[in-house]
């Protein structure tokens, strides 16, 4: 069928331990690993999917959440098409930090129009009974900060995980002119994604 698909880069950001790696693994491999290590450095996984009839290769980037590692992770923000701001509903601090993550992303990703950039907010670990952040609080934050879609997820029991990623894809596809994102599906060099704006000197 279609010989071309879009490569979309999404990046998971949020405090250490909120479940970024678990969400990525759940989405890509449909597994929840209770023996998972915390992330050191930067990792990414690819997943092919079809959204509304369009083939997309999603490249999901996962980094370490601790403040100290900022200089390692921020270089990878560039070229992101979507940012998944993640907190854990059983950790109020991680919710309070969402604003900082958003700021850090906009700054280092060098987003030209931050107001229209597609962010998606994930409140993870909804399977946990002792919540510290209510859905209402989270929704309010999303409304006030740019009308971001909000998903309550659980990497553990797979609640809403693919919905969240698919929504991210839709947001990106809707938000910009897609033409320049098209690359051949069989491309090996996925990293050679052309820039969507040509900023020639």
């Amino acid at each position: 069928m279609a010989s071309r698909s879009s490569l979309l880069k999404v990046i998971l950001l949020g405090d250490g331990g909120v479940g970024k790696s678990s969400l990525m693994n759940r989405y890509v491999t449909n597994k929840f690993d209770t023996q998972l290590f915390h992330t050191i450095g930067v990792e990414f996984l690819n997943k092919d999917l079809e959204v509304d009839g369009q083939l997309v290769t999603l490249q999901i980037w996962d980094t370490a959440g601790q403040e100290r590692f900022r200089s390692l992770r921020t270089p990878f923000y560039r070229g992101s098409d979507c940012c998944l701001l993640t907190f854990s509903v059983d950790d109020n601090q991680s919710f309070l930090n969402l604003g900082n993550w958003k700021k850090e992303f906009i700054y280092y990703a060098d987003v030209k129009q931050p107001d229209s950039f597609p962010f998606v907010v994930l409140g993870n670990k909804v399977d946990v009974t002792e919540r510290q952040v209510s859905a209402e609080e989270a929704q309010q934050w999303c409304r006030e900060n740019g009308n971001f879609p909000y998903f309550e997820t659980s990497a553990k029991d797979a609640t809403n995980v693919s919905n969240a990623f698919e929504e991210a894809v839709r947001r990106v596809l809707a938000s910009e002119d897609r033409v320049e994102h098209l690359v051949p599906t069989d491309a090996v060099n996925l990293h050679r994604k052309p820039r969507n704006t040509s900023t020639c000197c």
Partner: protein, 665 residues
């Protein structure tokens, strides 16, 4: 273009000196301070030196300036072949009109005949030449670097001394318009071959050790980059200029790697001093020698090395066999305490018992400190709270597949937690940083004792501390050192990585931060670490371990034409697929290969701790380090068996025979 175009300054460095004495004279130098510039004028590149008019401030220098009777005069010899009337060209622009000499011939100066006033005498020392007329440069180091230019017509210009640094930056900038290659017979001489197209230059000469990461960053963001030193500024300026053509083909991967330069700014290695000159060209390393590994050290071997009172004898030999084969698991619990420096090698059973007693008290005193923090107090102590919450999260995500830490409420998990919390009390400034739980876990597994594990961990952290600090200086240094080694070992591969914007080796970050803890199986981590803790066969051996792993992967990476992302992915996915004995074998072999090479670049010798001085015999007999050129870069040369490397160029003396401590930094 008209000859009236004003020259463009590519490089400028103030505080470059000419010593105006003769070599034969013991008198003190007359020092002339001045500017050294590289200019571009009508498509030609010109180097010029111009003395400053004002008197020299002696406080800036390592030697006092004083008028001397043994001044040498440099006479003009214009009209010789190959020289253009530079003075005419440059005089069009008054600002640059300071050139009154084209090239010089050395001539003894007699006191009576000169009679020049001060200003004239100074301006006599000005010179300039076209880079295309430059034949070679001698690079010497006497605590500072100084360069001598030899022109194609046979003339030699007075040496310019970089008392305030900047020689490397100067050479780097010169490299943009001319190829400088190390002379095969003389490592202090650079042969110049001129060409016009700066961009055609091969990667190998473009980057220097300390600055290469800054270059890309500046290209991107020339004005906001924090500048650490003048030599770096000049590098930036050049690259901003050079980079303009490259900017057009932007792509995310390239931008990413530009920003990876973030890792490098603030990098402070050798910022003040100029450790001789450094160009790594193709060094012929020769064949990689075969090395033999051995069986692990047994309990029997170990006890043989102890006297009746428990002192370890023949430590050198013992370390050697540990390096060659590692330890049987039964020996580890005891041997690691020595290897890590918790127990002194020459201590007796009784002394160690006392030590352990003291250390136990000390441990529990610190443990009580965080244990007795009330909830109220904790609420007002955000740092402690943050450390605690991260430790709790990370302990649950460290080696949970290992029996010792698996399942719920495993006592191993509680110990891991408590030791890390107590470490926060031991070093509150550092606190807990992710990665530390990975370093502790194997130690605790081997020690099976909270107190011993804590103190061994403290010793290990002493080596690794800098990697975890706020600026992650240790990581930056290691990545640069690794890059230097890779360039030496396989320039083609390094160039490939560079071309894929991967020259920063960010993909080795995890390897270096937690010493391969996540790359090999748990039991192999134990083997690898005990081998590395011997400090043999060279300083920073772990960097050669990186080289060995990359050596096995480079063919795949290049053949499959992996780019930025794929290299990262490929390296990440090597985790748990690596064969430890094969790696150790290869790493040692690479070490021997480098050691056997006679014309090693200075930086490589420095990284691996190979003495730069050829007369090793005298060093072997000296008990302590010899500090070389103390004003600049103190380099301690110590007996290998007394040293362990902490992984980033610092050497730490093990507590051995009450020896002194020497630092390299």
């Amino acid at each position: 273009m008209a000859a009236t175009t004003p020259p463009k300054v590519i490089f400028e460095h103030e505080g470059v000196f000419i010593h105006s004495n003769t070599e034969e004279s013991d008198d003190q130098d007359l020092l002339l301070s001045g500017f050294l510039r590289i200019l571009e004028k009508d498509g030609e590149t010109v180097v010029e030196y111009k003395p400053l008019e004002d008197t020299v401030d002696p406080s800036n220098m390592l030697c006092a300036g004083k008028d001397s009777s043994s001044v040498v005069e440099w006479t003009q010899c214009s009209g010789e072949k190959g020289h253009r009337p530079m003075d005419q060209q440059l005089s069009c622009d008054t600002e640059w009109d300071m050139v009154n000499a084209v090239s010089f011939r050395r001539k003894p100066y007699t006191n009576g005949e000169g009679g020049l006033n001060h200003t004239n005498e100074r301006s006599k020392w000005a010179f300039s030449f076209y880079v295309c007329d430059l034949k070679s440069i001698s690079v010497k180091c006497e605590g500072w670097s100084y360069l001598t230019f030899h022109l194609r017509d046979g003339n030699t210009l007075p040496a310019v001394h970089f008392h305030q640094g900047g020689s490397e930056a100067f050479l780097d900038n010169l490299r943009k318009c001319a190829q400088l290659s190390e002379c095969p017979d003389d490592e202090h001489t650079l042969i110049v071959s001129y060409y016009n197209k700066a961009l055609s230059q091969s990667f190998e000469n473009l980057l220097d050790d300390t600055n290469y990461g800054l270059v890309q960053k500046f290209k991107k963001d020339p004005y906001t980059t924090t500048l650490g030193g003048f030599s770096k500024v000049t590098n930036y300026i050049f690259d901003a200029f050079r980079g303009s053509e490259l900017e057009c083909q932007e792509r995310p991967a390239e931008e990413m790697s530009d920003l990876l330069g973030e890792l490098i700014p603030g990098l402070e290695i050798n910022q003040q001093e100029e450790p001789g000159f450094e160009v790594i060209t193709r060094v012929d390393l020769g064949a990689r020698p075969e090395v033999q590994r051995r069986e692990p050290v047994t309990v029997e071997d170990w006890t043989k090395h102890q006297d009746s009172e428990g002192r370890i004898s023949n430590v050198t030999h013992l370390k050697h066999i540990i390096f060659k084969g590692g330890l049987c698991h039964a020996v580890r619990k005891e041997a690691w305490k020595f290897l890590l420096g918790y127990f002194p090698w020459d201590s007796t059973h009784d002394e160690r018992k006392n030590l352990q007693k003291r250390k136990t008290d000390e441990y529990f005193r610190m443990k009580l400190q965080w244990k007795s923090v009330s909830e109220e107090q904790e609420r007002r102590n955000s740092r402690l709270r943050d450390y605690k919450s991260l430790i709790e999260k990370d302990v649950n995500r460290t080696d949970r597949n290992n029996k010792f830490y698996e399942g719920l409420d495993n006592p191993g998990l509680i110990l891991l937690h408590d030791i890390l919390m107590t470490y926060c009390m031991y070093d509150f400034d550092l606190g807990y940083v992710q990665g530390m739980s990975d370093l502790l876990s194997p130690i605790l597994y081997v020690m099976e004792n909270e107190v011993d594990a804590f103190w061994c961990f403290v010793s290990f952290m002493e080596q690794m501390h800098e990697n975890f600090e706020e600026q992650m200086q240790g990581m930056k240094t290691q990545l640069i050192q690794l890059s230097t080694l890779l360039r030496l070992l396989d320039l083609a591969f390094w160039n490939y990585l560079e071309a894929q914007d991967s020259g920063y080796l960010y993909f080795c970050f995890r390897w270096l931060l937690i010493r391969f803890k996540r790359e090999v199986h748990f039991q192999d981590v134990l083997r690898l670490w005990e081998v590395m803790w011997t400090g043999l066969p060279c300083q920073n051996f772990h960097l050669l371990v990186c080289c060995a792993i990359l050596d096995s992967e480079k063919q795949k990476i290049m053949e499959r034409n992996y780019g930025f992302n794929e290299i990262l992915k490929h390296i990440n996915e090597l985790s748990m697929k690596l064969d430890i004995e094969e790696i150790l074998h290869k790493s040692e072999s690479i070490c021997m290969q480098i050691k056997n090479c006679k014309d090693l670049p200075h930086s490589v010798r420095e990284i691996l701790g190979f003495s730069a001085v050829p007369e090793t015999s005298t060093l072997e007999t000296s008990e302590y380090g010899i500090l070389e050129s103390p004003q600049t870069s103190p380099r301690a040369t110590l007996r290998q068996d007394q040293l362990i490397s902490n992984g980033h160029g610092h050497l730490r003396e093990l507590s051995h025979n009450g020896c002194k401590v020497a630092f390299i930094s």
